[in-house]
């Protein structure tokens, strides 16, 4: 089963960040609708089960 940590949309939180935790990352996805494009960023951890937007890194 794929994990978030293996995803191309998994961007590790730098270790000097205020919200740093081991294994924590920003999951950034691009959405497009009739009004245009936007990006969402969700906090995730490397060992979480990957979601439907999983993209192999």
């Amino acid at each position: 089963m794929s994990k978030c940590g293996e995803c191309a949309l998994f961007f590790q939180v730098p270790d000097d960040a205020d919200d740093f935790e081991p294994g924590k990352a920003d999951c950034v996805t691009e959405i497009k609708d009739e009004k245009g494009k936007y990006w969402l960023s969700k906090p995730v951890f490397d060992n979480m089960k990957a979601c439907g937007t999983f993209k192999k890194a």
């Binding site: 961007f11 950034v28 609708d33 960023s41």
Partner: protein
């Protein structure tokens, strides 16, 4: 072809009114507004075209896909469950921190000011900790948060902890049921969750949050040292406990806000490096990242910093920590130091005045897509708009000089360019204000935006000084501080700045409805036409009221009952807000809370008590008609009147005509105005000011209708002013009833100027002639009108400059009139998003022309 005003004879000359811009001669009246938008850059043009408006019409969202999100309610609940046993103020801070740490962030194409308050730009958050009724309302709608089961479980969890759960037990259920009718009184804030706040933005822009954290930590250290002093003195030492909790909560909140902003910085960088292909936008995203890493943690150094930091504060205070309507700030004064750094001195984030205008346009579009999780009732009362977002500009500085500056002008120029319904603007009008800025104010008004609305600078200054004497802390506004006032919402002045600002609507806000109160006063406290229940005390059947004075007294008793009850609700809520709904982030950015270690909801330094009587003129005109036709002329009996009203005038046509033709407010009519002045001063204001609120000061009336004149009109039976049951009520706070002011604009001013005592504010709606305002004499006439208004010591005025032809055309082909904006009352709305019932009330307003007598009275030089 555009209509041009007819020439008139004035001071021995024939005055022609050619249009100021000759090219407008070719634009038909029916489509003028569609030619007035001019976004200043390609970016703002695109942002406007793709704006995710959150307008509502008849309580429904106009755009498809708008819905509520679940993340905020999920994360605050999770934190509340996990923090059981901790001090309540710490729990509130942890709740905010949990939301900010886990929230999904949003970054949209082309935007420079970034950040959104829900997990998707088409969503808005909900607030189960405020009122379960407001959440329940969403659960049964098409806008329910998903999954609904989880949302329902969250709502149930909060019932005992919510403001509503805490407060309800202190009221007679019968009284609450009367309030829930929203016909004589607005429902209590603890049931609606509606709030307003004036965030002390200045401390964030000037200090940065890192400094605020340092201040709180230093205070904690001092407090702990003081507690450790020997010999122990409990009378002093125990007081530190609550203060330490408050400061610690401030630190938690501020750290969370910094981390959240820096997550945004990371997002911009990730998008720049991994998604964006346009090199120019890439560069911009990296700049956005740099800005968002620095602010609001550090002090702002340039205009871009200031807009972004301000946006974060707005989101937290108005949408994430809790819901609050409003956009209160003195924006021009606040931003001018950063304008100076970036535009004048080019010292940091160098830009031109035109760039500054683009930034204002971008901020206006951010506000335009900011969604509010208001209950259906509150969506209904702001038809054609999103929420009450109102900023303030103009006025005078502490030394009495003109406060207008280049930032004021940039705000007004951008506003005229971009043409959005929000945010509305309030202009503080002083006669010393510079003409250049007044011309820009006029430009917005003439283009039909309905704002800036205008308030009398000197009346507001005196009012804030008056309230300051009641400060329980002995620390009300100084004379100098009064000069930084802004409207808290659409009408009532309050302080802005680093401390003493209004933090909660339980201080001022909320409505009461004199027209319906008169209806129940005529029926022994009973509401026969809508709720079919007793709505107030038994004050006797109207047939037994032998004199006008007895009717006056009966109304007074009903009004006092309702007024005391609504304000008791607010104060009980304030009591619990200070204990369970603390706002540690707001506390952290208020110098008073920081110094004293007290919560923003609990601490009141500057009293600002007010409540909004809405539909006063229907009640007042009715009093005039009753006095004249029943008690003075004795043409009819009270029994006959009651029969006619119960029949909605049907079968009583002659009588209806008499009551409809009785003297009306707004015509400088001595008979009507004498009674109505007393009605305002002795009852509406006189009775209200007998009340003392949480802050220790009197409560004064702020007459302003928003869209409630429609909603309450629909719940009010026929009234003795000749109005049919269900018809809209009066649309302002002191405006003449639509279509009943026949004597011209200056007669309206003379009537309104007679009411001076016991008032805090009163909204005056006026509709001015489009051809005259767009003529080459438009500014001269308006300017003279404004100076006369000022001399007459009138508190407020706002204008519609829109033709009946254009509004009727928009009713026929709404899709062709998306840019048609009108002033409703206290807010502007996209005309085509207002239900027909409401549209017709705007059309019915008298379009004031200016005859030679008016011009003479105004002493216009043409």
């Amino acid at each position: 072809m555009a209509t041009v005003a007819e020439a008139l004879e004035y001071r021995g000359k024939s005055i022609e009114f050619p249009l100021e811009y000759p090219e407008e001669n070719d634009i038909p009246d029916e489509e003028l507004h569609e030619h007035l938008a001019r976004p200043s850059t390609e970016r703002t043009k695109k942002l406007k075209a793709r704006c995710r408006w959150k307008h509502a019409s008849a309580g429904e969202f106009v755009e498809k896909g708008v819905t509520s999100g679940i993340q905020r309610m999920r994360f605050i609940t999770e934190a509340h469950r996990a923090s059981d046993g901790k001090p309540e103020v710490i729990r509130r801070a942890l709740g905010l921190a949990n939301i900010l740490n886990k929230y999904t962030l949003v970054l949209q194409q082309d935007e420079f000011i970034i950040g959104y308050h829900a997990e998707d730009p088409n969503m808005f958050p909900l607030y189960p900790e405020l009122a379960y009724m407001a959440v329940a309302d969403y659960l049964i709608s098409d806008y329910a948060p998903q999954p609904v089961d989880e949302a329902t479980e969250i709502m149930e969890y909060w019932k005992p902890y919510s403001m509503q759960g805490k407060c309800e037990g202190y009221f007679d259920p019968e009284d609450l049921m009367r309030m829930y009718q929203v016909s004589t009184m607005e429902a209590p804030g603890f049931a609606t969750g509606y709030n307003s706040v004036v965030p002390p933005y200045e401390t964030v822009l000037e200090d940065g949050l890192l400094k605020r954290i340092e201040m709180a930590e230093a205070n904690i250290k001092k407090a702990k040292e003081a507690m450790a002093e020997t010999p122990w003195d409990a009378t002093k030492g125990l007081k530190w406990i609550d203060k330490i909790d408050n400061w610690e909560a401030m630190v938690i909140a501020d750290k969370a806000v910094i981390a959240w902003a820096r997550r945004h910085a990371r997002l911009a960088k990730i998008v720049a490096e991994n998604f964006e292909t346009d090199p120019k936008r890439k560069e911009e995203l990296l700049e956005i990242s740099e800005i968002n890493h620095r602010v609001p943690a550090e002090p702002c150094k340039g205009l871009k910093d200031a807009f972004q930091a301000k946006w974060y504060v707005f989101m937290v205070c108005h949408a994430i920590d809790r819901y609050a309507s409003g956009f209160a700030q003195t924006e021009d004064a606040m931003l001018f130091p950063y304008y100076k750094a970036s535009v004048i001195e080019k010292a940091f984030q160098p830009m031109t005045h035109a760039d500054a205008i683009e930034w204002v346009e971008m901020e206006r579009l951010k506000i335009s897509e900011h969604g509010a999780g208001k209950s259906r009732a509150y969506r209904e009362i702001f038809p054609g708009s999103n929420d009450l977002f109102i900023l303030t500009v103009g006025g005078t500085k502490a030394d009495g000089s003109d406060a207008c500056n280049e930032m004021t002008d940039a705000i007004l120029e951008a506003t005229r360019n971009i043409r959005t319904t929000e945010p509305s603007i309030l202009f503080r009008y002083s006669k010393i204000g510079r003409e250049k800025t007044k011309r820009l104010v006029f430009g917005c008004i003439r283009d039909g935006l309905g704002y800036p609305s205008i308030k009398h600078e000197e009346i507001a200054l005196e009012q804030l000084k008056y309230y300051s004497q009641f400060s329980k802390e002995g620390n009300g506004a100084t004379d100098e501080e009064t000069h930084s006032w802004a409207n808290v919402l659409c009408m009532s002045p309050g302080l802005t700045g680093r401390r003493k600002t209004q933090k909660t609507r339980s201080e001022g806000g909320g409505s009461i409805f004199p027209a319906k109160i008169l209806e129940v006063a005529l029926n022994d406290g009973y509401d026969w036409s809508y709720a079919d229940m007793q709505l107030g005390p038994k004050t006797g059947k109207s047939e037994n009221l032998k004199t006008f004075e007895e009717l006056w007294e009966a109304f007074k008793v009903q009004y006092q009952y309702a007024t005391s009850l609504v304000i008791r609700c607010k104060d009980v809520m304030r009591h619990f807000e200070g204990r369970y709904l603390q706002m540690p982030f707001v506390s952290s950015i208020d110098d008073g809370c920081m110094e004293l270690g007290r919560d923003a909801c609990e601490l009141s330094e500057q009293p600002n008590g007010w409540h909004n009587p809405i539909t006063t003129v229907v009640a007042a005109n009715s009093m005039v008609a009753i006095k004249k036709l029943i008690y003075d002329d004795k043409k009819y009996t009270m029994g006959q009147l009651m029969d006619a009203l119960k029949a909605n005038w049907e079968g009583h046509e002659e009588m209806h005509k008499d009551f409809k033709n009785a003297p009306k407010w707004g015509n400088d009519d001595e008979y009507a105005d004498t009674i109505i002045k007393d009605f305002y001063e002795d009852i509406i204001g006189g009775e209200m000011r007998r009340i003392t609120n949480y802050s220790g000061g009197p409560v004064l009336p702020v007459g302003q209708a928003v869209g409630l004149y429609m909603e309450i009109g629909s719940r009010t039976g026929p009234t003795p002013d000749g109005r049919f049951g269900g018809e809209a009520a009066d649309d302002g706070g002191i405006s003449p009833y639509m279509g009943t002011d026949h004597k011209g604009p200056t007669a309206v001013l003379r009537s309104v100027s007679k009411v001076q005592k016991n008032q805090k504010a009163n909204l005056l709606n006026q509709r001015l002639s489009v051809p005259i305002m767009r003529s080459k004499h438009g500014f001269a006439i308006w300017h003279a009108y404004m100076d006369t208004w000022h001399d007459l010591n009138i508190d407020h005025v706002q204008f519609n400059v829109v033709s009946t032809a254009e509004m009727k055309a928009a009713q026929k082909e709404p899709e062709r009139h998306q840019d048609l904006i009108v002033r409703v009352a206290g807010f502007s709305a996209r005309f085509v998003d207002i239900p027909t019932y409401g549209q017709n009330t705007i059309i019915a307003r008298n379009e004031q022309q200016f005859g030679a007598e008016d011009l003479e009275y105004l002493n216009v030089n043409l």
